[in-house]
């Protein structure tokens, strides 16, 4: 007997085939190819201006690539080219099967409506129409991201930076996506809050079998969360491999520089 789930996991979730993007004469992203498998966490590291964020936008269909294409395996098991999806399909994918965690929570949250409604919005968008159940699910998710449920009716603008970021995560995960994009999720948080957030992310990722593409300039975040690392410089992927392999035994001079520039504890 064939284990269908195992067979499914053998196929990549997202495949990028030599994607490039140029803004006028500036090539922000050149010839990037990789495959991401279900449950895999991929970190994209590099300094500012290396093309990390552009790559993330290309992968998540927010920007159209100048060349190459990205395909995604939908829930029905069929791989589709993102560029061929209609806008309705892409937006549906966005609020069901995908999540996007922004560096600035104000971009990913509705700051003026309550935390409960923030978490519930995706549910309502896919047709949930029972207030009690929406609220129950929202409060369940607040518990999972360690936010006191007594604050369910408070707007995120009254939340601290760390709480906002956790709320943003809850809001994204409530529809049980299979793929989450994260853009510097720990940027702007102090070190102890960062540590707790990373801890939370790691347990959620493992528990939900999420595939994650995380963009960061913080190698410690990459080391803690990711299975694989891609190092970018000048729009190109210069080195890729298992996280410990790349970080402990960097091959490229630039990666060696990056790793050695971490201050010793």
């Amino acid at each position: 007997m064939v284990d269908q789930a195992a067979l499914e996991n053998d196929q990549p979730l997202l495949v990028a085939t030599s994607i490039s993007k140029s803004f006028g004469r500036i090539a922000a992203c050149r010839d990037v190819s990789f495959a991401l498998y279900p449950g895999e966490v991929l970190a994209i590291v590099g300094e500012s201006g290396s093309g990390k964020s552009t790559l993330l936008q290309l992968l998540s269909g927010q920007l159209a690539a100048s060349a190459g294409h990205v395909s995604y395996r939908m829930r029905d098991g069929v791989a589709r080219d993102l560029a061929s999806l209609g806008e309705a399909e892409r937006r549906f994918l966005y609020r069901t099967d995908w999540g996007f965690v922004h560096q600035d929570p104000a971009q990913g949250l509705r700051m003026a409506v309550s935390a409960g409604a923030n978490v519930g919005e995706r549910l309502m968008a896919v047709g949930w129409n029972h207030y009690g159940r929406i609220r129950e699910t929202a409060s369940d998710w607040l518990t999972r991201v360690e936010i006191d449920t007594a604050r369910i009716d408070d707007a995120p603008r009254t939340y601290s930076g760390g709480m906002r970021q956790r709320l943003q995560i809850a809001r994204n995960l409530v529809t049980e996506p299979r793929l989450v994009f994260m853009d510097e999720p720990t940027g702007g948080l102090d070190v102890s809050v960062q540590a707790r957030l990373l801890d939370l992310l790691r347990s959620l990722v493992a528990e939900l079998q999420l595939a994650v593409i995380i963009v960061t300039h913080d190698l410690a975040v990459a080391r803690l969360l990711s299975h694989r690392v891609m190092v970018m410089k000048g729009g190109r992927v210069i080195e890729t491999g298992l996280t410990d392999q790349v970080l402990d035994d960097p091959r490229e001079p630039y990666t060696q520089l990056l790793v050695s520039s971490i201050l010793p504890p």
Binding site: V113, S114, E121, N129, Y131, R135
Partner: protein, 298 residues
């Protein structure tokens, strides 16, 4: 004497054709906001410039016009607009709902049931139901196009979370013909059920925002709600103090500074015709009391 200086119903014929095209498109796509080239009217924005343009475009010489403002035929806004069309179009005007063929309204639907040969024209301040949730017009148009209306429920959710029930009392969002979510202009939600399957054509004009939308006759109009918090029309729990009506929408009128108040029908025509038919309320005016007490003058 009437209006030789103006074209019939104030607007020139080309403008009326343009507005009629927008109206036809709006009727063809129920609930969809059609942009149109709204004109300057001889009244300030917020006084019904959208409704007036729609009325001007559909009015014919044989039409009988009624204008109401919050249900009332005799407020400044209603009287001015009625006079405006009496002067510029020379049409007959009335205050009786049954006699009117075109009814321009600000924020109420008459209590008397409308019929197939009537058109109800609403004055709309803000046509976009998603406006206060999503400020970007480009985004709200896209949401309408893709029928993404989860955000509308976010507003209702917020109401329940804050007040324990859906506290939106006016401009209560509706879904028209199972497709477009529409702002029924700031009518009280008491009036929402009257829009559903209504025999009369309903047209909405927003002058400042330059939008026209419509509900064709006999179209399904559903008020949005949650399964466990269903839509409920709201009405003060009292009879009208003048005509004792139990089924009409009531205005609360403060009568002194000691907490005194009275509830009266917001629809003046409905209230007056009930009084003429012999219905009396607890605070009815002197003639009734005189009669009841045998009268002062005999």
């Amino acid at each position: 004497m009437n209006a030789p200086a103006y074209n019939f119903a104030y607007l020139d014929e080309q403008t009326k054709r343009m507005i009629r095209r927008a109206i036809l498109k709006a009727i063809a796509i129920p609930g969809y906001q059609v942009p149109f080239a709204s004109r300057e009217m001889p009244m300030p924005y917020g006084w019904g410039t959208g409704g007036v343009q729609v009325t001007a475009a559909i009015l014919g010489p044989a039409d009988v016009l009624k204008v109401i403002d919050q249900g009332s035929d005799d407020t400044t806004n209603a009287i001015s607009i009625r006079k405006f069309f009496a002067k510029t179009a020379g049409v007959a005007t009335t205050t009786a709902t049954e006699d009117a063929t075109v009814i321009q309204t600000r924020h109420r639907i008459p209590e008397t049931a409308l019929s197939e040969n009537q058109v109800l024209v609403y004055q709309v301040p803000i046509p976009e139901p998603l406006r206060f949730l999503e400020p970007r017009e480009t985004e709200t148009r896209r949401m309408h196009a893709l029928a993404e209306y989860g955000l509308m429920h976010v507003k209702l959710y917020e109401d329940i979370a804050r007040f324990g029930h859906i506290a939106t009392a006016y401009a209560y969002p509706v879904k028209v013909n199972a497709r477009y979510v529409m702002d029924p202009s700031p009518t009280p939600k008491f009036d929402n059920p009257k829009m559903d399957n209504c025999p009369a054509l309903q047209l909405f004009g927003a002058g400042r925002e330059k939008r026209i939308y419509a509900i064709p006759p006999y179209t399904q109009v559903v008020s949005l709600d949650f399964d466990d918090h269903p839509f409920e029309p709201y009405r003060f729990n009292a009879p009208c103090a003048l005509c004792a009506a139990e089924d009409s929408y009531l205005d609360e009128i403060v009568t002194d500074d000691k907490g005194g108040r009275m509830f009266v029908c917001s629809d003046t025509d409905y209230c007056e015709s009930r009084q003429a038919a012999g219905h009396h309320g607890s605070l009815s005016a002197a003639p009734y009391k005189e009669k009841a007490q045998g009268g002062i003058n005999g």
